[in-house]
Symmetry: C2
Subunit: 491 residues, 2 copies
């Protein structure tokens, strides 16, 4: 794409002063429209060292309402970031509805700088490209506009700028050895960048190469490109593209659920249970110190029918763990802040650090369970969620996480028995709500959703374990042992 850009073009100060105020006003007006219609916007700045990213970002945002955007410099890695999967750092910086995030360098670091430096190997490239394209598709599917700019200057211009900075005493420290190494490898970067454009310029998130030798021209082009992208997105779409679509007619015959095959008669005596539980808890406790020492993150997901015993089960699991190294993260309906983001955002925020355990008491599977059944999202949304979830889990396990997912299975009669028990025992009454009864009425719909979930998200690295839970004791031992086995097999 570089050869399409004319670096000789210049803009006179006079012409700049003539066009810029109107462009700024238009851009500010578009920002307000984006705010009003809840459009999240991401602007990625990549480009050559000394191409002027910082200055041009600053110029671009000048007339915007500062309460509605943030600028993030992706520069080095903090300890917090190092201990979590690569994309965690970007999830944290995604814009909520109506806001803008400007990235000074981005998730392209891996296929640009890290690739040239050798930190990312050639064999890792296909995966890295896939991650990028999946990430941007996921954002775009959720309604986020992704605009990608590459600031282009020649090798000669780069050298000229380095020399100029070195001459200014106060700024000389900004030019480091790395910058000169980068300069020496200009040609290599050029080839790499062309490959990046080829692999990641998609209809939903195309690259724009910006001629950046002339500061005025670059400013005009940037504001133009970003404005045009926002405008065409706003014009094209309804504020909430999918929610207004009528739900697709669905005719599902009642069919056999895989859950029907689960042997719920499995049980265990109290004596046997007391005998084993202590031993298993101790084993897990010892393992925890080892995963801590070896910096392995552990993610444990609990899903299951209401009253299937998630709470008691998690309690027994947690008892064996050192509270400094684990956290139980409960998830219900998203709150006001969470609902302004992609549905996966709040789960990414809770991802454990390497060496720590997070138990998810309900999880991202809500998208294909309650949100599907209660029509809190569109069919298109939950349909694509399977892939999105598999991607997220692949990122976790790819980072080295142990990932265990439990579906706590009981039958309808057992649920009824437990509901009644909760209603009659005063100290259990707080556990039962009208929602539980309402969900129960939708048992068959849930069964279909669970079947599909198990089929479409059981992967080798992240398999589901269906836990026969009519016997609470049996279920507790089984989850404990499954976790122990999963950790051991990873070590």
């Amino acid at each position: 794409m570089f050869e399409q850009v004319d670096l000789a073009e210049k803009l006179s100060p006079k012409a700049y002063k003539q066009v810029m105020p109107a462009l700024d006003r238009r851009f500010a007006a578009l920002q307000r429209r984006a705010i009003e219609s809840g459009l999240p916007v991401i602007v990625v700045f990549e480009g050559w060292e000394a191409a002027g990213k910082g200055t041009l970002i600053n110029r671009m945002i000048r007339e915007l309402d500062r309460r509605h955007f943030k600028v993030y410099a992706v520069d080095g890695t903090t300890e917090e970031e190092e201990l979590r999967p690569y994309y965690w750092r970007f999830w944290r910086r995604l814009p909520p509805r109506g806001k803008m995030s400007v990235f000074n360098r981005s998730w392209y670091t891996r296929v640009l700088q890290d690739r040239v430096s050798g930190a990312v190997k050639k064999s890792e490239l296909p995966g890295a490209y896939e991650d990028i394209n999946h990430f941007e598709k996921l954002l775009s599917d959720d309604g986020t506009l992704v605009i990608k700019l590459f600031l282009h200057i020649t090798k000669k211009e780069q050298e000229r700028r380095y020399r100029k900075l070195e001459k200014r005493k106060a700024l000389a420290w900004r030019i480091t050895r790395d910058d000169w190494v980068h300069h020496k490898h200009y040609k290599k970067y050029e080839t790499v960048a062309e490959e990046v454009f080829a692999r990641t310029s998609t209809p939903i998130a195309p690259w724009h190469v910006i001629p950046a030798e002339d500061h005025r021209l670059a400013t005009v082009r940037i504001v133009e490109v970003v404005s045009a992208a926002i405008e065409s997105t706003l014009d094209r779409r309804h504020p909430h593209p999918e929610s207004s679509a009528p739900p697709a007619p669905r005719s599902r015959r009642k069919r056999k659920s895989v859950l029907d095959e689960v042997d719920l008669s499995k049980s265990i005596s109290w004596d046997e249970y007391s005998d084993r539980i202590d031993r298993d808890q101790k084993r897990l406790g010892d393992l925890e110190y080892q995963i801590y020492a070896e910096r392995i993150p552990v993610v444990i997901v609990y899903e299951g029918w209401d009253a299937a015993g998630k709470g008691g089960n998690i309690k027994r699991l947690a008892q064996s763990l050192d509270p400094r190294a684990y956290e139980v993260a409960p998830f219900g309906a998203p709150n006001e802040v969470e609902s302004r983001y992609h549905y996966l955002w709040r789960f990414w925020n809770a991802v454990p650090k390497a060496g720590h355990v997070t138990v998810f008491d309900r999880s991202w599977y809500g998208r294909v369970l309650v949100e599907r059944v209660d029509k809190l999202c569109t069919e298109a949304e939950w349909q694509r969620a399977y892939d999105e979830i598999n991607d997220m889990e692949a990122q976790l396990t790819g980072f080295g996480a142990v990932l265990v997912k439990f579906w706590l299975q009981i039958d309808k009669e057992e649920q009824l028995r437990r509901f009644h028990e909760r209603e009659t025992k005063p100290y259990k009454r707080w556990k039962i709500t009208d929602d539980d009864w309402r969900n129960r009425e939708k048992w068959d719909e849930y069964a279909v959703a669970v079947d599909e979930m198990l089929a479409r998200t059981s992967t080798k690295a992240a398999p589901w374990t269906v836990v026969e839970s009519n016997s609470k004791l049996y279920a507790r031992l089984k989850t404990l042992r499954t976790v122990i086995k999963a950790i051991k097999s990873r070590r």
Copy 2:
């Protein structure tokens, strides 16, 4: 307090089994009551090394609903924490309404471990104690229950436990040289701990020394003490103690405001302005690189009348800064999540890292301005806010932050002129809302609140600067220069 504790006392397994289930049930029931009535609870665990803090915390929480508490280990310092004032790490971990935070070690580290190790000097102690007492008072005033436990074992028992751990291969690594140093200084710690009790045992947050040689006895005592504290707090108070109190009658005669003395005729020509603004912006830009290099945090607070020009003023200030190193943090009414916390919580969350700049577009002063005038808090609440704010700011400046506070002053006529202008110019219309007109009607009440704010929160380290803003150009230059001067005087 140590001598009041009988370490010889023991509890038989049988007696333990008899009393513990009822205690657990009562504790769990109290947790539910605390959740329902929105009581935030903090439990602090301090005590000797090897006193069993981790295990006992784990035991204490066993029967609680895991979705409503978190355990935090205060152990070492992350990079994120090091770059911010000491209490930032605790503010982040405060429980919202209805939740519980359990601290394994706490803000007492400074007056216990750090003092014995010499990291905190004797001359710093009075300040450290004051910080602790202010922090706990602030929490308590806001309705948070603070329970503090010190787990006590003898020097002999500590040695016995170390030796036992060292004998178990899998656990030997847990005993470090530091632990033995700690052991050697047992006597010194004892004296220090007694001093800590004497200085920080207050009626609102007394210390409880727990005999921890016998694990069963310790468990019973901990659950008893914590339950009793929660119960008596719940019994004593209404869910929202103050909000039901009738507002105190206030009879204020209209009197002269200090704001009336401000010379709003100050102005500057466009030529002079254009001439200076570039130069000053460049100076500030250069300074920014220096504060970054020297790791000085900068906090800039903007308050002022509606239409006083905060937005435009902030824009000119921000133009000179590198967007990687500053952030504009806008604050309106608290959202659903924020309103579950202490009113200062969201501002603590936005405190800049050392080397960075945060511009607060409205701030914690909302408590003594809009919340006072619109009666969104009680008089008692805004009255004590002055001290709380001064404390917070003292922590910022004590950490080395440059803190600049602007009140943008215009007169009532100028505001009216600007409101009309906003209504008539289409591209400015979004800036004016009904709220603005409503606020204008309360001009006199606001003037009283501003007067009192300026008088009670202008401190040497954090003085207010009233910016004459009838001339926007004059105001922009003045804020720029004030910031430049403040940074220079710190360096």
